[in-house]
Structure formats: C-alpha cells, structure tokens
Subunit: 658 residues, 2 copies
C-alpha cells in the first residue's frame, strides 16, 4: 500500500478528532504523518501485545501538543487502550487521548510531554539507560533505539541545546531525532524569533545530521536507516508543510492550531482523496498498519529466548531491576550504616552522609545511574562509580556538565525507560533550573531521586543566590513529590531507605552542606522517618508544655533549645519532621500524638514560614527566615537571622510569660 494512504490515515484520524474536540494542534500530526509512517512501517521494534517489552524501541513525542499523531499511531498499530472510542473522546475528561500525551506505558505512551524540550531530554535519558544496560546485559537483551519527534520549540528551549550538547558528547548513537522543520511556530514564521541554521548546531555538537523532504516517506526511511548505522546521535531534519492536507491552513500560521471545522475536514477529504466517513479507517488500510508490529515478532521471540537463556543469577538481577524491586540485604546494609551512625559522635556533613550511604549501596544497586551537574567534589556522589562515557557505558556516573535542566529531564527519561534507578545531584539553590522537569516526574509518578546539597543559609559565604530559603516550601507545594530533609546521618539512612522504596513518585532528598551532629539516640525502633515526623525527644520535666518542630540541620538547634527549656522547668518535646508528605499521610491520631495539642508549638527551619501554618496555629511561633540570606560565615548567619537555641528559648519564655 502506498505511503500516502497510510499517512493519510493518520491525517484524517487527527483531523476528525480535532474537529470533534473543537480544539487541538493539527500542525504536527499532519506535518509528520509521512515521517511517522516511515518509522513505524520500516524500522520500529515494538509489540502492542506487550507494550512494555523492555527491548522495544522507544518513541517520544517531544512536541507533545501534536498528541493526535501519537494516538493515531497507537490506534493504527494496535495498542488496544487507544481505541477508536478513546480517539473520539480526544481531549474529553476520562479519555486516554488527553490534550497532551500523559504517561501510560501500557498504552504505548512512553512519557508525558507538553512543556517543550522535556521530551528530547527524556529521550536522551532513555538512550543512556539503553547503552548502560546493553553494556551490562549484552546485545541479546538490550538492543533498541530511541526516537523522538521534535518541533522547533524543543530546539529553541535551552534544555534542547543542553540535550544536543550532552548527547553529542556522550555519543549516544541509538538516539534519533525526527525534526518537524516546518518554519512555523505559534506566533507565525520562525523568522520572527530565530535566524540560525539549527541543524548546524547539531553538527557542531558532533551529531550525524541528515536533511530530507519530510513528505517523502521513502527518503525518511533511508535517512532513518543511515541514522541507525551511524555511531553518533542523529538528527533527521525533515522539511515539512505544517498542517499538510488542510487546504485552508497548510503551510500557514493557522496550520499550527487554529480551530478546525467540519468544512476543513471535508476539504481535507477532497484534497487527500479520502472518501471514508469520519473516524473510519477502511479495513484494507488498517490491516496494513496492523502488520507493522509483526515485523518485530522475530526480535521479540529472540529476546524471550535470550531472557530464558540468561544465567540464573543474571536473570534474577535483570528481573529484579525491571520490576524495580530492591535486593534482599539492602535494608540490612542501610541498618548497618544506621547502627554505626548511632554509635558515632563525629559530626558529618549531611551531603557526605548521603554520599557514604550511596557508596555502600553501590554493590547492591548496580542499576543506580548518578548524574551530577559539575559538582562532583562538593557532593561526593561519585564514590565507587566510574564515569559513563562512550567507551565505558557501563559506568554509573554521568558528568552532566553545567546543565541542570537536561540532567533532571534525562533522569526522568531513565526512570521511564526502566531497569535503572536515576539520581540527579546538584545544589538545592540550582533546583529552580530543574523545576519544570521535577514537576514532570511528579506528574508521571517517576521514581527519580533528586539529591540536593547546600540546603539553607548553612551554605554561608556564597551568599543569597546560593541559599535556598524558599525552595523547601516550593517543593512541598508540588503534588506527588516527597521532600525529605534528614537531621543527621541516622535520618539520612532512614530517608534513603524510604526513598528507595517509593517507586511511584519522585523524591527530593535535601542535605545540609554543613556538619550535622547526631540528634538521634539509640532506642527508637524501626524507621521513624517513615512516618514523616516523630517525637525525637519527649518532654521530660512534666506534661508537655512546648513542642519544637524542626527539620534537617535545625533539629539540633531545637534539641539544644529543648535542653535549655527543660533546665528552666519548661517541659519540651522535639519533633523531627523530615518528610511532610509522609506525615500528612499518617492517621490524624498519629499526627495529634506527635504534635500534641493545647500547648505552644514552635516551628524551626532555616527557611521561610510559608506552608508551616499547616502545623502551627496563629498563636504559635516560627523561628526561621523572613527573606533572603546574606553572604557570611554560616554560624554568623544563624545568629544574624535569629535561628538559634537562645532565640527559641527567649521566644518561648516571652510567649509563656516566664
């Protein structure tokens, strides 16, 4: 069957869905229909009957607004979740065919996309995960490509260049971008905002670049074949006509997403020679589309055989990693660290405790892939790892360069790929650069571990740009993200245990730069941090009069204040609140038990109060920051901003009238 007819099936399904919804983005599905046809017909390794087959090729629709391209492809190739009904419900509440693709691997949707540039960085992460696992498990088990549909926006966004640069540096030869080079963005001609030769940027970064007519399906197919052979990552720049097939808007600004009406659908039917009714793909066309997956059957069977032929230890390892389960013995290893931490009186920087824990985890979790944005020395999470390089893709540490945004989105792609546990490490103050990607992980429920160091004014002399006073609050506001801020090495081990156990949401593990004294005494059983908050030190001198609530490095200050208050005869408990989200998940009774009631509470955190009021009443106290920090030694800053045991004691005394 000719390519045109196959591609027009995508076009008409997309037009019909967009007309019915009353909105959508026709530009991508119509412009890229021929490209997608070439990919699925001639190259893609996939199995709609086993959508999450680990060795499938990955397809990312980075220009996510063109979601009907993906839904059309998934329906045409036989992903059952993407039914005709679902397509007719495009953009309706409850349909899997949402306005933008929403992560649903069982339906063939590999990642959520929408904010531009995220998808291509996700794709880079998938290609890294592929290369890493191929190095570890061999070609018979891991041998797939990652394709991304890419729009102009993805390549204008800064994260796009970070991706181009890093993927070129890492020589990710299995990464192939299909660029919808249509010269149109939402505002109109790309000439309004860009003058450069975009493909040249890829060449500069060491990519294989190929320029083709995006409506010549055979030429695109040849280009993909060349890209697959090339050891470099590949850009296939496809010259396209936006909205091709719609006489009124094709090639124009309106081709991007101007509203379509039934007249447009009729005109498209006439232009494309497509006599079939809306939402009807004739069986002779559909049956051809449905054969494309068949071509992957031999590979699928070979893979099953390879899996069965693995040495049993290797198969166990593979299966464990794929199912994201933790090895037996891991918790014992963490408990061992905890035991040692409990018996040590040596202060240790929070981030170094995390580094030590990760070093111990190394042999247990070879699937850890640690990215860091040029802060190897101050964060120390490279211990026990070699660098992932083109020649040594089994290395577990990625020098991501000063590219936080791509690092975070790449980690998301690794998590979506499966089989690996991605960490992304940087200073908390730089997390703003990553925030859009962290949100995407939270939205998708990807188990990425974002590790942050230098978590407060404890940063000291580097000053307010580096002192993240509002970041704890801004992450706590983000749904489905678990933020943990351990108070000492014991809590660090406990938080790592919890974080590794959360496989359906990202975690932000936030550590102090400065030394932390041990606040936890032996005696508490289990993992108290798993409740999010717990009574670290009960009131001693009588029934509780005051509860000090603190997190991270301020827990020690609260403990100091408690000792002084108890000495004054004021019965004071200290509650450590390392993870608010977990604490909020506990029963009301548990929370009341921990927080106490009917007496004074004091929140203590070297950050703004915003959000603390959920644990405080208006008459309670907060000891923390009220604005940005300053440059100076950390200890002086704590004094300067009144975050000290003395300040707590004096505020409590004043409030209690003592």
């Amino acid at each position: 069957m000719d390519s045109q007819t196959l591609a027009n099936a995508i076009r008409m399904l997309s037009i019909d869905a967009i007309v019915k919804a009353g909105e959508g983005h026709q530009g991508v599905p119509l412009g890229m229909a021929d490209i997608a046809t070439a990919l699925y017909r001639d190259h893609l390794k996939f199995n709609p009957a086993d959508p999450t087959w680990p060795d499938r090729d990955r397809v990312v629709l980075s220009n996510g607004h063109g979601s009907m391209l993906l839904y059309s492809l998934l329906y045409l190739t036989g992903y059952t979740q993407v039914s005709l009904d679902a397509i007719q419900g495009f953009r309706e509440l409850g349909s899997i065919c949402a306005g933008h693709p929403e992560y649903e691997p069982e339906a063939g949707i590999e990642v959520t996309t929408g904010p531009l540039g995220q998808g291509i960085a996700n794709a880079m992460g998938m290609a890294v995960a592929e290369a890493h696992q191929r190095a570890r498990f061999g070609d018979a088990m891991v041998n797939h490509y990652t394709y991304a549909f890419v729009g102009d926006g993805c390549l204008q966004e800064g994260i796009g260049q970070e991706t181009i640069s890093l993927a070129g540096h890492l020589k990710l030869g299995r990464l192939i971008f299909l660029w919808d080079d249509n010269k149109i963005t939402d505002d109109g001609s790309t000439q309004l905002s860009i003058s450069e030769d975009v493909a040249a940027r890829f060449r500069v970064a060491g990519w294989h670049v190929c320029e083709v007519d995006g409506h010549d399906s055979a030429a695109v197919s040849v280009a993909i074949a060349a890209a697959k052979q090339d050891p470099r990552p590949s850009l296939i720049a496809c010259a396209t006509v936006i909205g091709r097939g719609l006489p009124r808007v094709q090639g124009l600004r309106a081709g991007h997403s101007a509203r379509l009406f039934s007249d447009d659908a009729a005109a498209a039917r006439a232009l494309l020679g497509w006599p079939h009714p809306a939402f009807e793909i004739p069986s002779e066309v559909l049956s051809v589309w449905r054969t494309f997956a068949d071509q992957s059957r031999p590979a699928y069977r070979a893979w099953q055989a390879a899996h069965a032929a693995l040495l049993s230890s290797q198969r166990r390892q593979w299966d464990r990693q794929q199912s994201a389960t933790l090895p037996d013995g891991l918790v014992a290893c963490l408990n061992d660290y905890k035991r040692r931490a409990l018996s040590s009186n040596a202060p240790i920087a929070g981030i170094i405790a995390s580094a030590e824990i990760n070093d111990l985890l190394g042999p247990w979790l070879p699937e850890r892939l640690v990215g860091c944005a040029d802060l190897e020395a101050p964060t120390s999470h490279k211990r026990g790892l070699t660098a992932f390089t083109p020649d040594m893709p089994d290395g577990g540490y990625l020098h991501c360069g000063i590219r936080e945004h791509a690092m975070a989105a790449m980690a998301n792609g690794m998590a979506a790929h499966g089989g690996v546990i991605p960490l992304a490490v940087t200073y908390l103050a730089f997390s703003d650069y990553e925030r859009a990607s962290i949100r995407m992980a939270a939205l998708m429920g990807l188990a990425v571990k974002y590790v942050f160091s230098h978590d407060s004014i404890g940063v000291g002399r580097n000053g307010p740009t580096h002192q993240p006073v509002e970041f704890l609050a801004s992450f706590r506001a983000m749904p489905n993200l678990y933020l943990m801020r351990p108070a000492d090495a014991v809590e660090a081990a406990e938080c790592w245990e919890i974080a590794l156990g959360i496989d359906d949401a990202p975690c932000a593990l936030v550590f102090a730069k400065q030394d932390l004294v041990r606040v936890r005494a032996p005696g508490l059983s289990g993992n108290p941090c798993a409740h999010g908050g717990y009574v670290l030190q009960p009131a001693q001198s009588g029934p509780r009069q005051v509860t000090l609530l603190a997190t991270g490095s301020e827990v020690a200050i609260a403990c100091d204040a408690r000792a002084r208050l108890e000495a004054l005869g004021i019965a004071t408990a200290v509650v450590s609140l390392p993870c608010w989200e977990l604490f909020a998940e506990q029963t009301e009774a548990y929370r009341q038990d921990v927080l106490g009631s009917g007496h004074l509470r004091v929140g203590v955190e070297a950050a703004v109060r915003f959000g603390w009021d959920q644990w405080l009443s208006p008459s309670d106290l907060f000891i923390g920051m009220h604005g940005y920090g300053l440059s100076g030694p950390a200890e002086q800053l704590y004094e300067h901003f009144g975050i000290s045991a003395e300040a707590i004691v004096s505020a409590v005394q004043q409030r209690l009238g003592q």
Copy 2:
C-alpha cells in the same frame, strides 16, 4: 605602565582577599585579569563619581563566582563603596564584597550573579534596552556598550544558548561577551562534559567571533575594538590559564576554587614579581588605574550637554523614565478603564482584560518593553506595539521565541539597565522555566512585571502539564515577589495600577484564560486591591457566620455560593485576596476586620491548599485542588474537582450542621 603590572594588581588583591576569607574562586579573577585590564584601560565608558550615569557602558560578571575580579576592578578604578576595607571583608557579613556580586548600582555592581547563565541573558536585556532607548532618544543620549564576563558554565546552561540564539537574531551589535576559555570547570577538564566547539555555536547564531590569547592584553584590546565596530553581537573567546599566577594550582582543576593559603599568596608574589604587602596596591599602580575613568570625562560632559539640550518635553520624558516615575494621567486612564469595566456585564477573559489595559497604557508608557515567548495570539499583549527588530529597535514588543528562561532574565537586565518597564509574558505553567530568573529579580528588587495567562485548571483540555495547580503557592513562597490574581476586569485594572507603582520588587500578574464575570459592584472607593484583600461582599442576612476567601476566577464561584448561603439564611461574606503579600503588609487590625474571627472560613482557589493555612484554622475548610488536573473542558474540570458553588454550600452546611 605595563599591562602585566596592572593586571597583577587585580590578581594580588583577589588572592589576598580569598586567602583571608578562607574561600573564594580564584580561577576567574586571575584568569581574566589581563582581559579586564584591556577593557577598563582602553574601552570602558564609566564614571565612578556618578556610578549610575545612564549612558555608562554596562559590565556584567556573568561568572559571578569570580566576584573578586569585579571588586578588584571597582576598587582600582575608584568606586568608593568598594573600599580596601570592604575587600578585606570579602565574604564577611556586612561587606559589600559578598561571595557573589549583589546588585548595587551605586557601587558599580550592575546585577546579582551566581546561578550561571543569568548574567549573559541580563546583558542581552541591557543591550535591548540600550538599542530601544537609542532609537527613541538619539545617539547623543544613548550610546553605550554592554560587556559580559562569561565562563564555561554560562555557555553550557540552556539559558546561555537561548541568549546566543536570540541576541544573534536581534543583531545586538553593542553586546560583547568576553569568554574565559580556560578548559576547566569545577569537575576538572571541560572534556568531561563537553566536546563541541563552543565558539562555532556563536558563529551559527550570527555572532561576530574573535579568538585571542586572553593573557595578551593588547590583543584583547584590539579584539574589543573590532567587536565595537561590528554590527553583530560579538564573542571574544579568550584562551586563558585558570588561576594564572598561582604556581600550585594554575591551569589545574584546583585553579577554580581550591582553598588558598598564605603560602600560595607568597608563591604568587614571587612568580608575579609583586613585592608589596597584602592588600597594598602601590600608589604608582593605583594612580594609573584611577586615570582610566578620566578618559570617559569628555563623553560624560558631552552627555550632560546633550541632556541639557533636549527639548523640554523630551527631557521630561527622559527624566521621568529614568526615575521610574509614572506619568500624570496614568491613574486616571486606569480609572477610566475601571469605570467602564464596572458598568459592563460582558464577561471577559482575564488575560484579555490585561491586554486591553496594556493597550490603553501604551501611549502613557512608551518605555514598556513587552517580551513574549511565542504566545502572541493567546496572550494578546502585542496590541498597539510593533516588534523590536534590528531595523526597528524602537518597537516595543519582543518575539522571544520559545525561550522563557532567557526572556525572564532579559527582562531583569532591562530593569537593571533602567529607563524601561519590562514585561515578560507567557503561560503560568511555563513559569517553571523562568523561575530561576524570577528569583533573581526578587532578590535584586527589580521592577519586572511577569505576566502569566492560563492560570489554573481553567486551561481545560490542554491538560495537567498546562494546569498550574502549585504555582501560586510556589510564587507566594518566594520573598519579595508580589503575586496578583485579579478576579475580574476591575481588579485587573487595580492590580495593574499597583504593579506599576511597585518599583522595588517584581510582580507576577496572573490571569485566567477563561472568561471572568464581573464580581465587583460599584461603590467601593479607591483601590481596594491595594490592601491585598478586602471584603468584596459583606454578610447580609445577619452577623457574619461564614467568610469565603477566594482569588481570581474562583471569586465568582464564591459569590455564587454566598448568594445561595444567604438564601439559606447563612450570613456569608466574600473576601477577595488578589495579593497575599500586600495583605500581609496591612495592620493586624485591618486583616482581622476583613477575615473576621470566631466563625467559619472557607478558602476557595483552583490550586493546592499549601500556604492557605495562614488564613485558615485547622477547623476551616478549603475548596480547591488536591493534586494535578486532567484534560477536559474547563467547566467539567471544576465540577470534577468539586470547585463549585454547590460544593461550597454543601461543605458549609455540613460543617455548620445544617
């Protein structure tokens, strides 16, 4: 005097300060000392006696960790605030010589830098402001260059490429980057993370590129001269040795920021032939440095004359813009809009109300520079403006492309430049891409107006990636940012009036995509939004039993609920809270008066509860979002998530036991 000696004054001041502080980043000041000497000796137009002279050249230290370079230069050239005492207090609490440069134009510090890449985008904004004002006021008034010291990090960050691309497109010929091409980052060799020819990226984007030995001051000077002549923006790629002058670390990873000791200072003195004691610049050296500003005297005098020679109407306009005062009549214009809005019953999309208001402002505020990230049609803020282009730099609208991050940082640079009022427009959900820059504006207190559309699940079918459920909270957590979310066109006008009046902090003006019905009735005097919150509708049927607190598009829902509750005999007030930050600045008495006490409060906002507890007690209610949104029609989403008058009424009835 030879360049070496002049440059070594920078080196030794920097080394002495860093040794004394016990930390710092020697790499930049030592590596770029010769470059800086060339710039200040041969080219820079500046006047330390009038640091904020509007026509001075701008210097941005984008690699802000190298702050001692800037402090050394400011001291050597005679900026009195940067005294030897201040330098000896480098990184100490209270010294102007903070770890990273903190915005202080009177001291010669043009912007705060630290997070990499921000500075070069700021510099682009300054160059845009310069070109725009030159077009409007002529060469005699505006005729300066913007220089940026740039490190590898600035160019690896995505915002860096956004800047390169956009500045090249806009042909900002007065923008000159001095790149410290030292092949070293914090992790070690740049080869760890980057393989590309960075200068080639600039060439691709249409920049003039010149490569020189960064330690050959004369060659750098020639390159700067060529850059000044070239009509394109210029990159001067300066090959340098990081930490040059420190025998132990120069050229090495440790040259970046490894701790220096007094032995290092002694070794540097020996190597550089600098016999003078610590912090002592011999008078013969200092006096040469102090002559550099003298070369700008003729230009300074000519500028004063040009200013005096302006037509009085032009001078008034110039002076008004420079002093960031608003024209008489502006408030009347806004009031006029408000009056019309008060008498209209036609619903209007929030963002369109803002667009209309801006259109009216146009003639009053020719200094508005509106950037938008490829969303001209859905945000409509181009009305009445032409595009800023290389040929038409008097245009007030910047097609920023799909580059939110650079847009925001560019707006910061415009504000820091002075004389213009920058707006940056995009969807609220994309503000995560801008967040790092918005934080910098808040930290500096720059009066940027960030305008956001599509502010909630009201976005509808585009789905959860585009529905900013946690963004209100995350911005409210950010110190020194005023977030405003008007409920209707009347509040929109009032919020714009307030925002334009705030000249020492950024504002985030957040508008609904969807139509808003008018909630304000005539009768309230003044600008009630200026209090941040106010009683929009008092309780009617008796003493207040319930207060509904809402913002933006949910105020109408609250008003609807109030009508139903009143009909049920439940005396209910509606409080609109468009700006929490302003409300928090009111007296406790005012707030109590508005919020009432001793009765039920209900917060209503199509966003997460996080932060709302500062206005609610634990027994109060919140009607809003509890996680991410969904793709579907907006009205259905409001119903689905239970944000409706019915839901409020039923929750209130349940709570009151009625």
